[in-house]
């Protein structure tokens, strides 16, 4: 008996992760994933997908640690399995470098990645004006593969997928018992959230197979992430900028900044340029509420607003969202029989 109908809105890494978690953990739910855009047209598709994180100001650190750890362990298991190439999940080692010593030298996620340590002087020497750095091995999760792999897994768990543009949650109220909102920036329109805003990011894919280590400048503006098929270099952080077109000025600036860190990049062939709008929010919204839709109260579980950390936190927050769906089920009393 599939008695409870759940719809997950959004087909990015948050939407598919959440849909898979629900469909696999709650087989009595019939889960539909509904979205306007699917891979390769989602924001996740362009994300470099290297796992580390910044702290959100108002979410208990314990919860953020759990999000990170759950995601990391989940992806590490994939990276170490035969699924690795199909899922686009690999291990990646490298450095995060700083011009000034950061206040927090040991970030909250440092215990969860592999072999986290301060960089040695010899390692730092290759970056002349950098004073401090961290070396570690983490995961790189490439969503152009990973989303398709998740979709397959979702369908295998009995999930259904529907392409449709949604203008309002009202359109869903009569067809579903629980709505899970993973629409990212779409939540601005869909649930009228004024706190979610775009942070524009432009990246380039370049051909530089001689580069094997990731390098990220601590300010998050400049990074070089070698992947399975190419090297992703970036980037930009333009708050409130909705432009999806490639900006030639940005392209030039990215190549300049990256070549300063790794001179050989000036010899790399640029394969493509891509722009995505990070669905940013002061804190991601992973919570539930009851929404009045066409006369009845429908439980809505929100899971959006991860900003630059969608891939990093997807599985962890998906598990939280699953917990919230369970709570909704819990409060959705089964009917007693007279």
């Amino acid at each position: 008996m599939k008695s409870v109908k759940v719809v997950v809105v959004g087909a990015g890494v948050i939407g598919f992760s959440t849909a898979v978690c629900i469909a696999e953990a709650l087989p009595f739910c019939s889960v539909t994933l509904l979205a306007e855009k699917f891979s390769p047209d989602t924001t996740s598709d362009g994300a470099a997908g290297l796992l580390f994180a910044a702290k959100f100001p108002d979410i208990p650190l314990e919860r953020q640690r759990r999000w990170f750890k759950d995601s990391f362990d989940h992806l590490l298991a994939i990276a170490q399995s035969q699924h690795s190439p199909e899922a686009g999940v690999m291990l990646s080692s490298g450095w995060q470098i700083f011009k000034e010593e950061p206040a927090d030298k040991k970030p909250f996620w440092s215990d969860f990645v592999i072999g986290f340590r301060p960089m040695t002087d010899r390692e730092l020497n290759q970056f002349p004006d950098r004073k401090f750095g961290q070396a570690f091995t983490t995961i790189k999760c490439e969503c152009s593969s990973y989303l398709l792999w998740l979709e397959k897994r979702f369908r295998k768990a009995g999930g259904q997928v529907q392409q449709r543009k949604l203008n309002s949650l009202q359109e869903l109220s009569n067809s579903y018992d629980i709505i899970v909102n993973c629409s990212g920036l779409g939540s601005k329109l869909l649930v009228g959230d004024t706190q979610v805003y775009p942070v524009r990011g432009q990246v380039l894919k370049v051909e530089a197979p001689w580069l094997q280590h990731f390098i990220r400048d601590g300010d998050g503006m400049t990074y070089i992430y070698p992947g399975i098929h190419s090297v992703t270099v970036g980037g930009t952080r333009q708050e409130g900028d909705w432009r999806l077109q490639v900006d030639e000025g940005d392209t030039k600036s990215i190549l300049e900044r990256c070549s300063r860190l790794v001179p050989s990049l000036s010899k790399a062939k640029v394969l493509s340029a891509w722009v995505g709008l990070r669905p940013s929010r002061r804190n991601p919204r992973v919570e539930r509420e009851l929404v009045q839709l066409q006369g009845h109260r429908v439980p809505v579980v929100h899971n959006y607003g991860h900003g630059a950390w969608g891939v990093t936190l997807a599985w962890g927050t998906a598990l939280d969202a699953l917990g919230l769906v369970k709570q909704c089920l819990h409060e959705m009393p089964l009917q007693a029989k007279l």
């Binding site: 008996m1 599939k2 008695s3 696999e24 953990a25 709650l26 087989p27 009595f28 019939s30 768990a157 009995g158 369970k326 089920l329 819990h330 009393p333 089964l334 009917q335 007693a336 029989k337 007279l338």
Partner: protein, 403 residues
């Protein structure tokens, strides 16, 4: 994941019924019943036919009539078995487009291999078993009584009421409808049918049954004549409230039951509680009423009080499967998942016990509720057991003994 649904035709009615609104399953069932057979099964039937033709050819006219009947009986049994198996096979696959079929099933599916098939005095014994709370034996005996005399409206009535107690709503509805076809003025059957329709969310049908109840009731029918055309929920509610005013000096528990059902239909649970409580003041030993009070309390978000009412019902009638199921539901709603599981397992075990052919009479919705409770406990290994219907494993995992 393929959900293996272990169910008899009776169980499947519940599935059908739960999906009554989109009707998807119903159509699949009908489709499968009529046309969807694997080639080997068809082959088997064809061989049968061939065999039959050869037989009738060679024996010419010798006893054609008899073998004819035999063959068609066998054929019928095989088709039924096929329908049953197809039901079992289709788990939670794709849903076809919703058809426009009435959700009310017209046919009643009898248990096969009924050991009481030719039992003398089956009706009286069935009634007795129902009173004792041995619902499975009661169902089998009452089915036997009906197979012996399909026109026995009283047997249909008791069968319907017993099926409801045994948490098989769709079978209850079909039986009660058959009873009312044979005897349109059977008041207990009308009331029981109204309850079953209410449970399945069929408000219009429930109101209609209650309107028929009051307009055939010798105490009230004179007041109804001029209201004949009115059958909306509010109209019928007014009829019952007017009638209650006639009884200022005494309480009619049946009328109050009707009121309780109507208030449930309008989600006015507090008033429904008052009505059932009034009925109980006259019939404090009526376990059906205690269960109805409990269910009303539960549906009105008063689960703690509901548990007390169910407990009372189960003290009076330990074999009352529906009330045990409801108790489990309230446990889920109170977050007591372990207790919920234990109640569902007890109910399933009771349904299984009196009939060793295992899953025949277990209710699909009790299994479904059990799966929900277990999934909330985060015990994936046990969830699998619930999925494949391994009652023994679950009973030992949860330390549920035979009661």
């Amino acid at each position: 994941m393929v959900t293996v649904s272990l169910s008899s035709p009776l169980d499947k009615w519940d599935d059908v019924n739960l999906d009554a609104e989109d009707g998807g399953r119903r159509r699949r069932y009908e489709k499968r019943c009529t046309s969807h057979h694997s080639s080997s099964e068809l082959l088997c039937l064809n061989l049968h036919l061939l065999h039959y033709m050869i037989q009738t050819q060679s024996h010419k006219c010798v006893c054609v009539l008899q073998s004819d009947t035999e063959f068609w009986d066998k054929m019928q049994a095989e088709w039924e078995e096929l329908a049953r198996r197809n039901w079992l096979e289709e788990s939670e696959g794709e849903r076809p487009n919703p058809p426009t079929v009435s959700p009310v099933e017209k046919g009643y599916y009898f248990n096969t291999n009924n050991p009481y098939r030719d039992w003398p005095n089956a009706f009286a014994e069935g009634q007795e078993k129902a009173r004792e709370g041995d619902l499975n034996a009661a169902v089998l005996l009452l089915e036997a009584a009906i197979l012996q005399d399909p026109q026995d409206s009283e047997a249909w009535q008791i069968l319907g009421m017993t099926q409801a107690e045994n948490e098989n709503e769709q079978a209850a509805i079909v039986s009660l409808q058959r009873c009312l076809e044979l005897n349109p003025n059977n008041l207990p059957a009308l009331m029981a049918l109204a309850v079953s329709f209410t449970n399945t969310g069929m408000q219009r049908e429930a109101c209609d049954a209650l309107r028929r109840w009051i307009s055939h009731n010798p105490r009230y029918k004179h007041r109804v004549l001029d209201h004949r055309s009115l059958s909306g929920l509010q109209d019928v509610l007014l009829l019952f409230q007017d009638a209650a005013l006639l009884n200022l000096d005494c309480v009619d528990p049946d009328l109050q039951t009707g009121l309780g059902v109507l208030f449930n239909l309008s989600s006015d649970f507090n008033k429904a509680v008052e009505a059932f409580t009034a009925a109980l003041s006259v019939r404090p030993q009526d376990y059906l009423l205690w269960n109805r009070l409990g269910a009303t309390l539960a549906n009105g978000n008063r689960s703690e009080e509901a548990v007390e009412a169910y407990t009372r019902a189960l003290e009076l009638q330990p074999g009352f499967i529906r009330s045990r199921y409801n108790l489990g539901i309230s446990c889920i709603n109170l977050g007591a998942h372990r207790e919920a599981v234990s109640n569902f397992l007890t109910a399933l075990n009771q349904q299984r016990r009196s009939q060793r052919c295992s899953h025949q009479q277990m209710s699909a919705n009790i299994w479904a509720a059990l799966r929900i409770a277990i999934s909330m406990m985060d015990r994936p290994e046990l969830f699998q057991a619930a999925n494949i219907g391994d009652l023994d494993l679950l009973m030992s995992a949860f330390d549920v003994g035979d009661v």
